[in-house]
Subunit: 221 residues, 2 copies
């Protein structure tokens, strides 16, 4: 059985969970209080971060390394295109969300509102929240611009780029930080991805003490 050490509201863990589910790989989810940095956890991943995946007798870490490993060993259904050029575009967008979007939006909103309280690091920083609220608009517009030209974010097919983006947006949707009226193309894209069977486990997530937005699990939001 594949095992994933994870935290429910981690976009990096969600990207891995979506990838596993799309490939129809059953996984045992193990909640990891990563902020406690237990010595057992640090033995699994010296970086002290989730996700950590146990699969094929290996202990894998870093969400992109994990997703590429799954894609290489379980190629169907494909989540990466066939040409180097198109793969570069997928990887560029995965990095866009996991690096830029994460730094400018997810860490400024979800982490300030939820993770900080959960890990007893104090109250949300108002400036961070304000900057996050501003930055998400730019990102939704950029996604809308991509989706004007493409069926999915990186091209005609669903790829890891869509899962990276959906992983972040679903965390932000949990904390009511997404204005779905801003861009119709983005809302339609999210409705499509949200209705996939792979998304079910994510819509069922609950973080004790933090209720999700009312429409969080609603496929008709």
């Amino acid at each position: 059985m594949i095992q994933l050490y994870h935290f429910p509201l981690s976009p990096f863990c969600r990207k891995v969970r979506l990838t596993l589910a799309e490939k129809k790989l059953d996984v045992e989810l193990i909640d990891e209080k990563y902020w406690e940095q237990s010595s057992e956890f640090l033995r699994r991943n010296a970086a002290g971060k989730v996700p950590v995946l146990r699969m094929d007798g290996l202990t894998l870490s870093d969400s992109s390394a994990i997703c590429e490993y799954i894609e290489e060993t379980v190629p169907e259904p494909a989540l990466m295109p066939r040409t180097p050029e198109k793969r570069a575009e997928v990887r560029r967008l995965v990095a866009w969300f996991d690096d830029k979007f994460h730094g400018e939006v997810t860490s400024k909103l979800v982490y300030e509102r939820i993770n900080k309280k959960l890990t007893r690091q104090g109250y949300p920083d108002g400036t961070n929240v304000k900057n996050g609220v501003k930055a998400i608009k730019f990102h939704l517009d950029y996604m809308g611009w991509l989706l004007d030209q493409r069926r999915w974010l990186a091209g005609p097919d669903l790829t890891l780029a869509d899962f990276a983006a959906a992983a972040h947006l679903s965390c932000l949707d949990y904390s009511s930080d997404v204005d779905w009226n801003r861009n119709e193309g983005v809302r339609d894209w999210y409705a499509k991805i949200k209705s996939r069977p792979a998304f079910r486990s994510i819509l069922a997530d609950v973080v004790p003490g933090f209720r999700p937005a009312a429409h969080y699990a609603d496929l008709d939001f």
Copy 2:
């Protein structure tokens, strides 16, 4: 001709330069004052970051997407191992340096001492510098631990993981932030990588107003 829009002391650009040079691909380096965020630059990469590579008629961004593209289209000499398991280890370590090491060390030392002044964002933050000085010790020890068991960081062969690590350490060496006496294994590894022809252009880098450490370009440091 391949063109790279870069900043000399960017570890992400250096990783790409090392990869290109190892593959014996000639490149025209174009200095990019990325912090000015010119509209022309933002058209090339909406993320507003270096490196940006022009190759095969494409405009590519994100350093890892770029390096994977080069590896896929110019496979020799190989910088990625052949099995998914070993590739996952390379990608884990590339992310270790570009994410964790970058956040805990490079951004705390090189960016505080050099980039901040260059981009007129004020003086180094003493707490950041102190934390960076502390964190680099842990990372050098971790590298030393890996190199006790392996010839190169990810295994028996030189890979992108070594270039990611060397890219960061070479920037920190420029700002005199590496104690090469801390770990003999790490020093020997850096001496090996520094003497490769691919490293020459990096050792010749000069950022006006900031002298490199006296031993920076010395192969016998």
